[in-house]
C-alpha cells in the first residue's frame, strides 16, 4: 500500500514541479495579455534564486568537503611512508564515515559536489554506488568496476575484455571476470601509462609532485540500505588488494555512526581505518537558506505567513529536506506568476516602474479591486478617491509611488527584524522564538507589538544587565551599518548616540555611586533576614517592590529605558505586517491551500472525496446532491462505497448486493412495488461484483475467512 502511494506521490510531485514552465504558462487562465512577460520574469527570478541557493549550499558544504579532501590526500600520501607505523597501517583501508543526517533527498547534491571535487583535485578514480543497485556482491562489484573503468563489464564480452587488457599490456595474472583483479590490472596499466608521460585521461593532481599514485575512491551513498553481508564480503575482498590498489571508502551515513558497528562485525571493521565527518545539521542548513533567501530584500517575490508556515511545517514535521523546501518555494513562485496577473510588477524597481506605465485598463481595474488598495483609498480624501477610481494615468502615478513604498518597506523590514531577533533571541524561555524564522512568522501574521510575547520580551529586556545590553546593541549597530536606506541611516545615528551615552555612563560611574541608593536596597534585605513570619515576609517583599518601582531611576536605567523605547519605536514603524502595505498582493504569494495540496498530498482524502461526492470530479449535473447523500445515478462504486459505510466491521455480501440492487432499480426508474424492483439480475450482479472488487483494489475491504460470504472493512483502507 505504501509503496503504491509512494510511486503515485512521486509521480505527482514530478508532474507539478518539473512540468515545463512554458507549457504551464501556455495554459494560463488569468490575464492573457502579459503572460509572456510574466513567464520571463518568473524564469529570471527562479534562475537567480537557483544560482544563489547553489552557491549557498556549496558554501555550507565546503567545510566538510574540504576536510574530506584533506583526509583523502593524507591517506594517499601516508601510503608511501616507509616508517614502521604507516607500514602497519597500510593493511587498513582508509574510510571516511560521513554523517549527513536523515534528510536523504538532500544527500545527492552533497555527493555530487564531493565526487566532482575529488575528481578535480585528488583522483580521477571515483565511483559512487547506491544500495538499490547492489543487491548482491556481484552487482556491487560490477557497478564499481563499470564506474571506475568507464567500460561495460559483463560476462558477455569476455573476449573484448581480454583484448583490451592485452593492449594495455596487463600482467599475466589477468582475470577476465568482473573481479578486483581486473581492476588492479587496469589500475596498474593506467598509472604506468601516465607515469610514462603518455597523454591520458588522468589529470595531474596538485599533490602528485612525485609519482604518487592517485587513490581509488568508492563512495557508498546510503550505507544503511546496503545488505550487510554484501558489504562485508566486499570489504574482505578489497582488503586483499589494498597493498596493490590504493583503495579508499566513503560511507554516507544517514542515522548515526554506530550503524557501522551494527552492520560490520569486528573482524571486518578492523580492516578499516575509520574517521568520522559530521555534516551541518539540516535545521542549521534551513536556517541559513531562510536567512539568505527569504529574509532579504534582494528578491521581489515573497511568501506570506501562511505559506511560510506550510513550507516550514512540511520541513519540520515530515522530511527535514532543504531541497524539498526550495522546491516548495519554486512551486509558490510558479503559482504566483501564473495566477496573479499583477505579478508583472513583481520585479526589480526600474522594471516594475516601467511595467506600471504599460499596464492596461483591465489590469488597473484589477488593482482597484485589490483589498490592500481599497484600504489605501479609504484613507485618502474624497477628491483623491474619485481620481483614483476614474483617472487611469493618475492611478499609474500613484502605483509607482506605492511600489516604491513597498520596496522601502522591505528594505527597512529585514534589518529591523534582525535587530529585534538579536535582542530577543538570548532571553530566557525565548518569548519570541529561538530562530529568526519564528519571529518572522509572528511579524507576518499581525502587528508584533500587540503580541503578548513581545510585551514580555520587552519586560525582560528592561531587566537586562548593562554589559549584555551594550553587547546586543552593538550587534544591532553592525546589522544596521551596511544598510543603505535613509531611515536606517538615521536609526543608526541614533543607536550610535545611545551607545556613546552608555559609554559615558561608564566614565561617570567610575566615581563612587550615591550611597543612598545602595542603602535603600540593602536595608530591607537586612530586615528580611530577621523576619520569620510568612505574612510579614510577603509584606516586606511587596514593600520592597513598591519602593523599587517608585524610586528614582539610576542613570543607567533611564538610559536603558530610552534605548528600549527607541527599539520599540523602530519596531512599530517598520515591522508592521505586509498585509498593511498597499499593493502587497503583487509580491506576496498567499495561497497556502494550493501549496499544501501540491506538496503534502492526501490521497486518502481525495479518494474518499471522489467516492462520496462524485460530482466534485465528474461535474455532471445529475450527480449534484445535498451533503452526505449519494445520487442514485452515481457510478456503481460510489453506491457500493456509500452502502459499505453503513456496515460494521464484517459485511455480508448478500445483504450488500440486495441493498445495491434496490438503489440501482430506483435509479433506473423501476416502479417501487413492481415485480422487477430490487431484483438481482445477471447484469446488476456483475456490476456489483465489479464495484466490490474495485473497492478491494482500493483497499477499503478485504476478503476474510472468519465468516463465509463476508468481507472485512479495513480502517486504513484507501491510502
Amino acid at each position: 500500500m505504501t509503496s503504491g502511494v509512494l510511486t503515485w506521490h512521486s509521480r505527482f510531485f514530478v508532474c507539478c514541479l518539473f512540468f515545463s514552465a512554458e507549457d504551464h504558462f501556455l495554459h494560463a487562465c488569468e490575464g492573457d495579455e502579459n503572460r509572456e512577460l510574466r513567464f520571463h520574469l518568473c524564469h529570471d527570478l527562479w534562475d537567480k534564486i537557483k544560482t544563489n541557493t547553489e552557491a549557498l549550499q556549496d558554501e555550507l558544504n565546503r567545510n566538510i568537503l574540504d576536510s574530506l579532501l584533506d583526509f583523502t590526500r593524507k591517506c594517499s600520501s601516508t601510503r608511501r611512508h616507509s616508517d614502521w607505523a604507516s607500514q602497519m597501517r597500510a593493511s587498513e583501508i582508509p574510510t571516511a564515515a560521513l554523517v549527513l543526517g536523515v534528510n536523504v533527498p538532500d544527500h545527492d547534491m552533497t555527493f555530487k559536489s564531493l565526487s566532482d571535487l575529488l575528481q578535480q583535485s585528488v583522483t580521477p578514480h571515483v565511483a559512487s554506488v547506491q544500495a538499490k543497485e547492489c543487491g548482491a556482491l556481484k552487482h556491487l562489484m560490477k557497478r564499481v568496476l563499470e564506474r571506475l573503468m568507464d567500460t561495460v563489464v559483463d560476462d558477455d564480452d569476455d573476449e573484448e575484455e581480454e583484448e583490451e587488457a592485452e593492449q594495455a599490456g596487463a600482467p599475466l595474472n589477468k582475470a577476465v571476470h568482473c573481479s578486483l583483479g581486473t581492476l588492479c590490472a587496469w589500475y596498474n596499466a593506467k598509472t604506468k601509462k601516465s607515469n610514462l608521460g603518455t597523454p591520458g585521461k588522468k589529470r595531474s593532481s596538485p599533490a602528485s609532485d612525485d609519482s604518487q599514485p592517485p587513490p581509488v575512491v568508492i563512495i557508498f551513498k546510503d550505507l544503511e540500505a546496503f545488505n550487510p553481508k554484501v558489504l562485508q564480503d566486499f570489504i574482505l575482498i578489497c582488503s586483499r588488494y589494498v597493498q596493490r590498489l590504493p583503495l579508499m571508502f566513503i560511507f554516507g551515513i544517514a542515522t548515526s555512526p554506530s550503524t557501522i558497528q551494527h552492520m560490520l562485525p569486528h573482524s571486518v571493521s578492523s580492516l578499516l581505518c575509520i574517521e568520522l565527518f559530521q555534516s551541518l545539521s539540516c535545521t542549521q542548513h534551513l536556517a541559513t537558506v531562510i536567512d539568505k533567501l527569504i529574509l532579504t530584500p534582494q528578491f521581489p517575490f515573497k511568501l506570506n505567513g501562511k505559506v511560510m508556515q506550510v513550507l516550514i511545517s512540511i520541513f519540520l514535521y515530515h522530511d527535514f529536506s532543504v531541497r524539498n523546501f526550495i522546491k516548495g518555494i519554486q512551486l509558490a513562485l510558479l503559482e504566483h506568476f501564473h495566477s496573479q496577473p499583477l505579478s508583472v510588477l513583481c520585479c526589480k524597481k526600474e522594471a516594475a516602474l516601467l511595467n506600471v506605465m504599460q499596464l492596461g485598463h483591465l489590469d488597473l481595474e484589477r488593482i482597484r479591486k485589490l483589498q490592500s488598495f481599497k484600504r489605501y483609498v479609504e484613507k485618502q480624501e474624497a477628491q483623491e478617491q474619485v481620481n483614483l477610481f476614474t483617472d487611469d494615468s493618475h492611478l499609474k502615478g500613484v502605483c509607482q509611488k506605492l511600489i516604491k513604498d513597498l520596496r522601502k518597506y522591505h528594505k527597512n523590514y529585514y534589518p529591523i527584524l534582525r535587530c529585534l531577533h538579536t535582542l530577543t533571541s538570548s532571553l530566557p524561555r525565548y518569548p519570541l522564538g529561538k530562530q529568526i524564522r519564528e519571529l518572522h512568522l509572528i511579524c507576518l501574521e499581525k502587528n508584533i507589538w500587540e503580541n503578548e510575547e513581545y510585551q514580555s520580551a520587552m519586560k525582560l529586556l528592561k531587566m537586562m544587565a548593562k554589559d549584555q545590553l551594550i553587547g546586543l546593541l552593538q550587534r544591532c549597530e553592525e546589522i544596521l551599518r551596511p544598510v543603505k536606506s535613509k531611515k536606517m541611516n538615521r536609526a543608526l545615528v541614533q543607536l550610535e548616540d545611545l551607545l556613546a551615552k552608555f559609554k559615558q555612563l561608564d566614565t561617570v560611574a567610575a566615581e563612587p555611586p550615591p550611597p543612598s541608593v545602595e542603602d535603600r536596597i540593602t536595608s530591607p534585605v537586612k530586615d528580611l533576614q530577621k523576619k520569620t513570619d510568612l505574612f510579614q515576609l510577603q509584606k516586606a517583599l511587596l514593600e520592597m517592590n513598591e519602593s523599587r518601582r517608585s524610586k528614582k531611576l539610576s542613570p543607567f536605567e533611564a538610559l536603558r529605558n530610552e534605548a528600549l523605547e527607541f527599539i520599540d519605536s523602530l519596531v512599530k514603524s517598520h515591522l508592521s505586517p505586509p498585509e498593511s502595505q498597499a499593493l502587497n498582493e503583487v509580491c506576496y504569494y498567499a495561497s497556502s491551500a494550493t501549496v499544501r495540496r501540491h506538496l503534502n498530498a492526501a490521497p486518502r482524502t481525495s479518494i474518499q472525496a471522489a467516492l462520496s461526492s462524485p460530482y466534485y470530479y465528474l461535474q455532471n449535473e445529475r450527480l449534484q446532491t445535498a451533503d452526505g447523500l449519494v445520487s442514485n445515478a452515481a457510478p456503481d462504486i460510489c453506491i457500493v462505497y456509500k452502502l459499505h459505510l453503513e456496515c460494521g466491521r464484517l459485511i455480508n455480501l448478500y445483504d450488500w448486493l440486495e441493498a445495491y440492487a434496490t438503489v440501482v432499480s430506483a435509479a433506473e426508474g423501476d416502479e417501487p412495488g413492481s415485480d422487477s424492483f430490487g431484483k438481482v439480475d445477471d447484469v446488476r450482479h456483475a456490476r456489483f461484483i465489479r464495484a466490490v472488487s474495485e473497492l478491494e483494489f482500493l483497499g477499503f475491504i478485504k476478503s476474510t475467512k472468519q465468516k463465509t460470504d463476508h468481507v472485512a472493512r479495513l480502517s486504513w483502507g484507501g491510502c
Binding site: 582475470a175 548515526s256 498530498a601 491510502c719
Partner: protein, 431 residues
Amino acid sequence: MSALVQHPGYDEERLQRVCGQLPCRDVQAGMLLSLMGQPHQYSFPSIFIYGHRSSGKSHVMHVLLKELELPHAMVSCVECLSVAVLFEQVLLSFFGCDAASLLPRSPSLSDFVRVYRQQRSQRPAEQTRYIVMEKAELLRDADANLLPALLRLQELVEDNVTVILLSEIVWDKFRPNTGCFEPLQLHFPDYSKAGVSQDKHPSHSAEFYSSYINILLGVFYSVCRDLRELRHLVRHTLTMKETDTHKLWRNIEPHLKKAMRTVYLREVSSLQWEQMQQMEEKDTGAVRGLSAHTHVELPYYSKFLLIAAYLASYNPARTDKRFFLKHHGKIRKTNFLKKNEKTSNHLLGPKPFPLDRLLAIFYSVVDSRVAPTASIFSQISSLVTLQLLTQVSHDDQLDAPKYKCAVSMDFICAISRTVNFEIVQYLYDFL
C-alpha cells in the same frame, strides 16, 4: 628449528629463510613440509588446516610456497562470486591466460576438469602443484559437488596436485552428508604468550620490546588473542622512548586501559589515535568514539511514528485498548494475559505488527490532528530504509504490510524525551 631445515629435496638456504620468516610456526611448517614430501613426489590429495583467526595459516602457506618456489594458486573463497572465478584463477596460475580462456562461459566442474587434463597432457607436472583455498568454510555454500571434487582433484585430473583448505572451522562441520574423501587434518594452535613477545621492532631493542609486549599482554591477553589486533594495539600504544624504561608500570596502565576502550574496538581510527597521542601533551579533550554519536535527528512525525512502532512491537495487541482508549475499564495485569505473555516482552524482542495498528497507535499518541497524507506514508518507508523499522512481510505484499521496530529502549527513550512523551507509561512491561 632444526627439524625444519632438514628436508630432502629443498634448498637448505631457502629453508633457512623460511624459518626466519615463520617464528613460532616451525613445528607446523615442518609438519607440512614432511606431508608435502619432495617436490617431484606425489603428495596427499587434500590437506585441511584449521585454526583461529590470525593463527598464521595463510602466512605459513604463503611463505612456504613462495620461498620454495613451488607452483601454486592461492584463492580466497570470498572472492569467488561464481565457481568460474575459482577455476579461472587456478588455470591462470598453473597454465597462463591461454588456458583460462579455454573455459566456456559459466563453466561447470567437468569443463574445468576437461581443460585441466588437456593442459596437463601438454605440460605435465614436474613438481607438485598446490591449490590453496582460503576461507574454505564458504565452500559449503557453493555447489554440492564442488567440495568433494576438490578433495579428490588429484584422481580426477590425474595430475600431481594437492588441494589445501584453510578454515577457521573444524572439519566436522564440513563433511557433506553424502560422504566424501577425508582430507588430512592439521591444526594450527593460537600463538602463545611467549611466542607473541618474540616479535621484533625495527627501532627498539629486542629486550625492551619484548618486555613491553609482556606488559601489554597482561592487559589485553585476557580479552584478545588475535595476533593482528594485538599488533594493532602495540603499534598504537608504543609511544615512549627506550630511555624511559624507568617509567613505572603505573604510568602505562591508564594509558593502556584507555586504549582498550578505544583502539581495540576501533572506536577511533589509527590516524585519530596518533593525533590524540600528539595532542595529549597539550591535554585537549579526547576524540569521541564512533558509538558516542548515537543521537539521531528525525522529523517530528517520524519520531511519533517510531514511538508508535515501538509500542506496537513491544505491547501485546490485546493491551492496546487499555492504553489508548479513554474508558477501558479495569484490566488487571495478572488475570488479563495468557500464561506465555507474562514474560517480559523486552526479553522476547520486537514482534511484527500490521500497518493498520501502527497508524492507529500513531494517531492516538500524536497530540495534534494529522491528515493521513502521502508524506506520512513515505516517512514509514524512509524509516525502513534507515533501518529503524524493518519490513517483515515480503515487498510484494501490498495490502497490510507488516513491520518490526528495530531500535533499542535507550534510543526510543531519548527520542520520546525530545517530544515530551512518557513512553514508559505506555509500555506494558513497565506497568
